[in-house]
Assembly symmetry: C2
Homo-oligomer: 185 residues x 2
DNA sequence: TGAGACATGTAATCGGTTACATGATTCC
DNA sequence: GGAATCATGTAACCGATTACATGTCTCA
């Protein structure tokens, strides 16, 4: 199936939110502006076009509320196909590029898993995440050595920051794995 | 001065790199593809236009190497104005939005400070960073409470991930502050 | 002299931001 | 009935991605 149906992180956020409960464009905007989840875009010029694209792709259906007025309210519901596409997108293997450039999206993906995937898939995702990060950290450490040799540079510090954040992710993932396997929560 | 002279993180990365040493477009591309620093864009379709925009804005000057051939090589050097704009951009106050949406850029900013700013400004930046994050974490904790009440949701875990990463940043910043104040390195 | 790396660029397309326009509802 | 908020949308612009095109240098 074509993964380009959900091109951006914003579309993923929208689809994930709509998968939980039917929402209007304004509802989505409110979530994006008032909660940390989904600080991806707050502009109507991004949300409404994205909703229409997704409706055209058959991922959501809009039901008109005030049919007769000039300003109809549209409530969007996820379709069966939309749910499938969401699941597929959440289950996509984690790549090096995801680790390097798209940690936000990886977090978002996990945030939406609770509703649509099982414990088994969630565990697999977290283990994959730790593996990919553990593959990448040695490369960062190599570069760190090189950076340290540059006099008066703060590049090494910046790299250490990145590494510290990846470490935090790994520790978080391990904790969640323990929780899920232990069955608590 | 107009901050829109450096519109994107990519432009900032380019200007910062060129501030260290003169570089061609290809040199920049190599840095972006082979080092963790600057995994912002590797496509020539972004780098070359950005360089030309910055040259037009007077931030860098390109000196042609092989003037007579059909394929002249351009080496770009930062100008006095470019250095001023870079400094200004690095010194910009840190906003809530920076914390929420642009941690990568904040890290990049610190990475370039070594070459152009003094210890004093660097310390101020790091202190500002910890302050802004400490302002934001209580909001995340509030949302965490709300998320926990949603049955079977992984949203709470995702939020904890975000918080853990911010904690890592704060701890890193405190360590660097200690190092800089202690004068080591 | 041919392969492959080095090096620079363009065009189509696409999605997001900014700024603006406008209608509907609520509440004083 | 006027203000504020709720709610939906459009248009201009902008920069990044993708894919393609092309020239240059090095070395076996």
């Amino acid at each position: 199936m074509d993964t380009r149906i959900i091109p951006s992180t914003l579309s993923l956020a929208i689809l994930g939110l709509v998968s939980r409960q039917p929402m209007t464009g304004y509802d989505l905007r409110k979530v994006f502006t008032t909660t940390p989840m989904g600080h991806f875009s707050t502009s109507p010029g991004a949300i409404y076009p994205a909703l229409r694209r997704m409706e055209q792709a058959g991922l959501v259906t809009g039901t008109v509320e005030k049919r007769d007025t000039l300003r109809p309210r549209q409530t969007y519901t996820i379709t069966k196909k939309g749910l499938e596409v969401l699941k597929e997108r959440l289950l996509l293997p984690i790549s090096r590029d995801d680790i390097v450039l798209r940690m936000d999206e990886l977090t978002l993906r996990f945030a939406f898993m609770g509703g649509v995937l099982g414990k088994r898939e969630m565990l697999q995702y977290l283990k994959q995440l730790t593996l990919r990060i553990n593959d990448y950290i040695p490369i960062l450490l190599d570069n760190l050595e090189a950076q340290r040799n540059i006099e008066g540079s703060t590049g090494a510090y910046a790299l250490e920051h990145g590494i510290a954040r990846y470490d935090a992710t790994v520790m978080w993932a391990r904790r969640v794995i323990r929780n899920l396997e232990g069955g608590s929560r």
